[in-house]
Symmetry: C2
Subunit: 202 residues, 2 copies
């Protein structure tokens, strides 16, 4: 199943190119397991979720550690029927059948408990979209229930759920939201914003 | 039908607060027709597409005219079954039945031809998601065909379509993509990025 993301990093500083170029070093440990292509609006990362989310985490954490107000924006997708399969996307996440919702929520929570603590605080906002299903809201509500008990839930908003916490727990939670909800072979996407060092009151 | 967006404006400058505060004046002509709420990660705009897209256009165009590299990111949504209806969202876009795809594509192209020219160039990337449908890709492919003939199509990418052109034509095209594809009462979203003044080669 084809999976990956179109991502962009926005450092709110005149030296945005310097912050981006420096943060890109955080992707080095992942480069042999991702296909990476950049143009003037976003960078494509093709690969399995277990590589993609830690890579996004380390990229964003590196930029956030500069203290500059930084935002990562990503369109994350799996199982789009219009995309060709790619061997680099092979994932342990989608093997076998789909357990009942409660079991998936418990597995997701257990995975978040194992997340590393990175001592970088950030906020995130995500919308999960499940396509090709008559009852797509059941999976979306199931994901929102998981997010509410993740330990980093901040609030429900129109069109999105907001999280806040350590970037380790945050990206582990995002990976679970992306992988555990919607059918294993289904077309699922996340519209994601992650922000650190904002001067606005939270 | 409830409709609106969570939006964020990212000026890549140390004076990002100044650029944002100045650009917000462009929303003034729309404020009585939108519900607006801001927190530290995004601004909620609730209202019909015929108000929302011109408001986004004028906000982004105002920021882009500073010459600073600016990005607008938006999660745009209509018809989410989990959202309550709101009288402010009443729209002329979704009355009556859904014409055949070819007719909708022709209407969309005609609307783009009437777009104002604003003499501000930008690039945009969008992903259209249609939910609650077995054959959701038919509508997505129909929208991509419209985008390819819009006059501002740049290229197809994994997970997204990239446009480039005048911000007048660009936001008119986005409004048509959002309104003409997927059922009139359906759950449809767009994950949108618009960028101006990037130093990266296009």
């Amino acid at each position: 199943m084809f999976s990956g993301a179109q991502i962009s990093l926005y450092p709110m500083t005149g030296d945005f190119v310097g912050v981006i170029m420096s943060a890109l070093g955080a992707l080095d440990p992942y480069r042999d397991r991702l296909r990476i292509e950049t143009d003037d609006i976003s960078t494509l990362l093709v690969g399995p979720p277990e590589v993609l989310f830690p890579a996004l985490r380390d990229l964003f954490t590196s930029a956030a550690r500069t203290g500059v107000h930084c935002v990562l924006s990503a369109a994350i997708s799996r199982g789009c029927p219009g995309e060709p399969d790619d061997a680099i996307c092979q994932s342990t996440h989608f093997a076998g059948t789909m357990p009942p919702l409660a079991e998936r929520q418990a597995l997701a929570l257990a995975a978040v408990e194992d997340a590393p603590k990175l001592d970088v605080f950030s906020v995130a906002q995500l919308s999960l979209y499940v396509m090709g299903e008559d009852r797509h809201m059941d999976e979306i509500y199931g994901c929102i229930d998981f997010l509410k008990s993740s330990g980093i839930f901040e609030k429900s908003k129109h069109f999105a759920t907001k999280l806040r916490g350590d970037t380790g727990a945050l990206f582990a939670t995002l990976e679970q939201a992306f992988c555990r909800f919607g059918p294993p072979g289904g077309h699922v996407t996340i519209d994601l914003t992650v922000s650190a060092n904002s001067p606005s009151p939270g």
